[in-house]
Amino acid sequence: METFLFFVAAGLALAGALGVVLNRNPVHSALSLVLTLLTIAVLFLLQGAELVAAVQVIVYASAIVVLFLFVIMLLGVDKEESLGEPFHFQRPAAVALGVIALAEIVFLAGHEWATGAHATRGGLNAGTGGNVERVARSLFTDFVWAFEITAVLLVLAVVGAVVLARRSHLSPDDIENGEPGDSEAEVVHP
């Protein structure tokens, strides 16, 4: 059963990933991304990572994709993209580089093996409680400093997003001519 679920989920995830890359319409790409993210949550469940699977569905497949779709609809860019090449050989070069990277990773994964110490930070089945409790214990003891730092990171991201998305009083012509407008807009002058 696990084998069957793995191959179905992995196949769907790869199909969704190809859909993200190959769809010309950004909305279809975003919907393919949902497929990939949900099937990756299934793969997390198969490996016994219940909390990570739940967070994957809540944060990735819901919040982030909704944000993507929101921006697509806000900007009205749901028209199809012309797939003309700006440089010669861009497409073959990209595919060749991807194949080389894949071969390299698979070669390394097949020939070298993970030789770390086992369970240095607490095993998957050590102690009491379920997966959620163990992840929480790890997060709030071993990684509590990193956890606090993420708060700073999120605040910085929110402030940065607000500053970037603020409507500037400059028109594009002002910027290209190098004439800043009023002093308030000068803050965001590139």
Binding site: S29, L67, F68, A109, A161
Partner: protein, 102 residues
Amino acid sequence: MTVTGSYYLTFAAVLFSIGAVGLLLRRNVLVMFMCVELMLNAVNVTFVTFSKMLDDISGQTIVFFVLVVAAAEVAVGLAIIVAIFRRRHGSATADDIDLLKG
């Protein structure tokens, strides 16, 4: 036939490569962003797989930090895209952002 950890690792490698190729192929900045998300997810799968193979819970904890970084990246990145679109009036390709071209 049992699914071992190397199946998951190979799957993650393929997913990462698809994301990387998409990042190089596509010129719509939004789709390039989605390809970055694909690559981050492939790394998450790798973390969870190693967490199971090495019997260590911290692999699953690291996934949360990857998630936080991804969320912050999406917030700032989409704000940059919105700012670009305002200036460029509807052009969606990365080739149009060439102010720094020498």
